[in-house]
């Protein structure tokens, strides 16, 4: 049975393997939501850099949507993508039904799925 549109849970899929900490999602979101300094709808968190036992460097950035994120309701209603997805410089953010996004992440390491 296909779910009705209202029932479909939407989310963001982020391939953080290639997040470079360019701050684009943070600032695009601020501009879209009209946030003040210190306020974030999405914030990039850092892990590393440090060396792993094999000598390779571990250095990850992960954008985390906050409670202020409304998945760009207004933009989506206009037929656009959320502004972070549209502008992400690495092109690693995807918007869609969480079930579809979950399929997309199958087999690809270093992805995170956020539900709303």
């Amino acid at each position: 049975m296909p779910k009705s549109e209202e029932a479909v849970q939407m989310g963001l899929l982020i391939d953080y393997e290639f997040c470079t900490n360019c701050h684009t999602c943070e600032v695009a979101c601020k501009k879209e939501l009209g946030l003040k300094p210190g306020e974030y709808g999405i914030k990039v968190l850092e892990d590393g850099p440090r060396r792993n036992p094999d000598g390779k460097w571990e250095w990850n950035y992960v954008p985390v949507p906050t409670s202020l994120c409304d998945l760009c309701e207004k933009r989506v209603a206009e037929g656009r993508k959320p502004t972070c997805v549209h502008h992400c410089q690495s092109g690693i953010m995807y918007y869609g039904p969480v079930e579809e996004l979950a399929k997309k992440m199958t087999g690809k390491p270093n992805m995170v799925l956020y539900s709303k």
């Binding site: 470079t20 701050h23 850099p49 250095w59 549209h86 502008h87 992400c88 690495s90 092109g91």
Partner: protein
């Protein structure tokens, strides 16, 4: 970003109405600054820009944008933006101004020009420009075609050390410039059937994700990584790219030429080079083979501080990858051996057969040859006047016209000594020398103070404007301009998407206004900016359409730029023959021109002037190697410091240091530290970088504080955190190219109340500087 987007919403038209918004689809370049020209959608209402969105139909950026364009509104309507022309009413440095009209401003300039022309000669007008943005040809035309002076200079960038060494080495060796091929030259991008993915990219001397230098969008590297491209990163600091690289070569700053020679050594001695290319298309290979024997990996390991095994491994990985590209950057230019390193790295591209092949380093010219950049209007300068160029005849490569500037180091000497003649007027357009470009900034400050008359064209009241200007002219931003971009490809419209702010004028309008006043014989033929742009687009075999047609097209890819193997196809030389635009027609491993000019014909290592092997005694007092100029997300050089959003990300100037080193010095992360050497000192905040060598530190450039008092002695705090208190002027490589901005030395110690009594800016503006010159 993705290839899938709403095609009804994101049209391919140039302009449309969307509800209450007028949407303009075009590109943005300058101002505010950056080296790229991303496709944008400008949403305006009643002539006011309301928002900016990345254009998914622009294959350059495919909808992506960085902070500068996303945050454009904050910049365009910033409360500090210059609104109208102003003339100085107090003393220089007092920051007292009177609003005047453009006509009054032009009257002042015209009168001053006539006075100088009659009493001193127009050559005593000199122009300073900044890095490569859409304010290159405009000041060149004002200087040469309007004032008639031959003296255009990089705004005190010692050794012309930004892209000039790399471009010049390219031009001498193969007659053209090469860039790394991430598919950007073709509208279909990765789907261009002829394109191949680079198997390896060598990221050499830049962090392109942040810097986006030379028209290269840094995140194209990430696009390639996602397709499976492997990286070799050459950088003294651990960058995100270095952490993701298969090989990170942590090089000692300023030793790039030696590293390149060792890579050449391994590739030649292990017979990993492209025999077909070397035998059929190159000149002087045997001489190179002999020279590289002086650079075995074990010896170069000592010079570069990179383990021998890593050098060998990197050479093999690069040489075996087919194709492979080198994405090089500014660090190559900012060392004594800039020309030599640039030459050797270009040799690597040639030796491995990666010149002009898909996914390699491809030959590019400005789209449809539509850009003369800094070289514009040189045809208006007579032979007699060319001979009056300041300092040019001391540098054979400048004299030969490879770089359209007078050497900045020689201009500084001229200001200081009045020889060969005193400079009566400085014209600064889009440059803020003492905050950014000028090495040994306190010395440049003192020298510029001597010039009787100075005009500054800029967006904000900068420290340089306060310190030197008699007249300040407010420039338009990119979104308010009609212009175009042809660096590299595609040819892109820059179309006005918002009305001009207050009384601002575009650089193009200033050219035309001044041209009509001072040289009506040259400029009365143009009624409008559009007339002038039409000519720039069409003259000398350009495009067949006019500016308005370009605005409709938005962008236009030139097929020449995406044609591969142009040297085989006879597309480079004027005679239509296969080969390169060089004296031998070949790629030149040994450069006969270098011999003519009295330089070594082959690349070689040159030690930094200050360092462990050249000045071991000095190192006892100044034990750290200082590298400067790493880029900031969202801030371009000295720009963007007025913007609350950018300052939220970058509240303070930061210096990077290995945490163990910091601990030994009693420094914690977030402490303020002095960086000091013989020439001066500045203070920046401590940030740990675990990858940095214990003996290397890194300092940021471009810092001034618009939130502080503008009048001297505060002068927006321009010298307080100024890393150029420590760098040099007049110290450059043997070819007059390359200066050690990235390889000086310093000591580090904690800022305390006791040692911070008098600010560096007060020392420079009130006490005559740090006293280095007097020593």
């Amino acid at each position: 970003m993705s290839d899938e987007f709403n095609k009804e919403l994101y049209k391919t038209d140039a302009r449309w109405q969307e509800g209450e918004y007028t949407v303009t689809r075009t590109s943005v370049w300058t101002a505010p600054g950056c080296h790229n020209g991303c496709g944008v959608l400008l949403y305006s209402k009643n002539g006011k820009l309301e928002k900016v969105e990345g254009d998914p139909n622009a294959s350059f950026n495919r909808g992506r944008l960085c902070l500068r364009c996303i945050n454009m509104i904050e910049q365009v309507y910033n409360k500090d933006r210059l609104k109208w022309p102003m003339k100085r009413i107090g003393e220089k440095g007092e920051n007292k101004w009177q609003r005047i009209t453009w006509d009054e401003a032009y009257d002042i300039i015209e009168n001053k020009y006539n006075e100088i022309k009659d009493n001193h000669g127009v050559e005593s007008i000199a122009t300073l420009v900044g890095t490569g943005r859409n304010s290159m040809w405009q000041p060149a035309v004002i200087t040469r075609a309007i004032f008639g002076s031959p003296n255009l200079s990089f705004g005190f960038l010692s050794g012309d050390s930004c892209y000039q060494p790399r471009m010049t080495a390219n031009l001498i060796k193969l007659g053209d410039c090469v860039i790394s091929d991430c598919s950007q030259t073709h509208p279909l991008r990765e789907n261009n059937p002829e394109w191949k993915k680079p198997e390896v990219i060598v990221v050499w001397g830049n962090n392109p994700l942040v810097s986006n230098g030379d028209g290269f969008m840094g995140h194209w590297i990430v696009d390639m990584m996602r397709l499976g491209t492997k990286l070799i990163v050459i950088d003294p600091a651990l960058t995100w790219l270095a952490a993701k690289a298969d090989i990170w070569l942590r090089i000692r700053p300023g030793s790039d030429a030696a590293l390149a020679m060792a890579l050449l050594n391994v590739i030649i001695n292990e017979d990993l080079y492209d025999h077909d290319f070397v035998e059929n298309w190159t000149y002087g290979f045997d001489d190179l083979v002999e020279r590289v024997q002086e650079y075995p990996p074990d010896k170069v390991a000592d010079i570069t501080w990179i383990p021998k095994e890593q050098i060998i491994e990197a050479a093999r990985m690069y040489a075996k990858a087919k194709p492979a590209a080198v994405q090089w950057g500014l660090a190559v230019d900012m060392q004594m051996a800039a020309m030599e390193a640039s030459s050797a790295i270009t040799d690597l591209m040639a030796l491995t057969g990666n010149i002009d092949v898909p996914g390699g380093n491809i030959i590019q010219r400005y789209a449809y040859n539509r850009s003369k950049k800094y070289g514009s209007a040189i045809e208006y300068i007579s032979e007699e006047m060319l001979l009056k160029r300041i300092g040019t005849y001391e540098s054979p490569i400048h004299e030969s016209g490879y770089t359209p500037f007078i050497p900045p180091d020689k201009l500084l000497e001229c200001l200081e000594t009045g020889r060969p003649y005193p400079v009566q007027m400085l014209w600064l357009q889009g440059t803020n020398p003492i905050a950014n470009m000028a090495g040994e900034a306190p010395r440049v400050y003192a020298a510029m103070k001597k010039v009787p008359f100075c005009v500054v064209v800029d967006l904000f009241m900068t420290p340089s404007a306060v310190a030197f200007a008699d007249l300040v002219l407010p420039a338009a931003m990119s979104v308010e301009r009609d212009s175009f971009r042809a660096w590299w490809t595609p040819l892109r419209s820059i179309a006005k998407g918002a009305e001009l702010y207050e009384q601002c004028k575009s650089d193009e309008e200033i050219v035309l206004d001044l041209g009509k006043r001072i040289r009506p014989d040259r400029f009365d033929q143009y009624n409008t900016i559009t007339d002038y742009l039409d000519q720039l687009l069409q003259e000398d075999g350009g495009v067949e359409y006019d500016f308005n047609a370009l605005v409709e097209r938005v962008n236009d890819f030139w097929d020449w730029d995406y044609t591969y193997l142009k040297y085989e196809k006879g597309l480079l030389r004027k005679d239509g023959q296969p080969g390169f635009v060089t004296p031998t027609g070949m790629y030149e491993f040994t450069s006969p021109l270098f011999d003519v000019w009295g330089f070594d014909m082959l690349p070689h290592h040159i030690e930094p002037v200050e360092g462990p092997y050249t000045t071991p005694e000095l190192m006892r007092e100044y034990p750290f190697i200082l590298t400067t100029g790493n880029r900031l997300w969202g801030c371009f050089h000295s720009e963007h410091r007025q913007m609350p959003t950018m300052r939220e990300i970058h509240p303070d100037p930061m210096m990077d240091i290995n945490p163990d080193t910091a601990q030994k010095l009693g420094l914690n992360e977030g402490d303020w530290a002095w960086l000091e050497n013989r020439r001066g000192r500045c203070k920046q905040k401590v940030r740990f970088n675990v990858g940095l060598d214990a003996k290397v530190v890194r300092g940021e450039h471009g810092w001034w504080f618009p939130e502080k008092e503008g009048a001297e002695p505060t002068l927006f705090g321009v010298f307080d955190s100024n890393i150029n208190n420590l760098t040099t002027m007049g110290v450059h490589g043997p070819t007059h190219y390359g200066a050690p901005y990235k390889s000086t030395i310093c000591k580090i110690y904690k800022v305390t109340a006791e040692n911070d009594q008098l600010s560096p800016t007060e020392i420079v503006t009130r006490k005559g500087g740090f006293g280095y010159a007097k020593k």
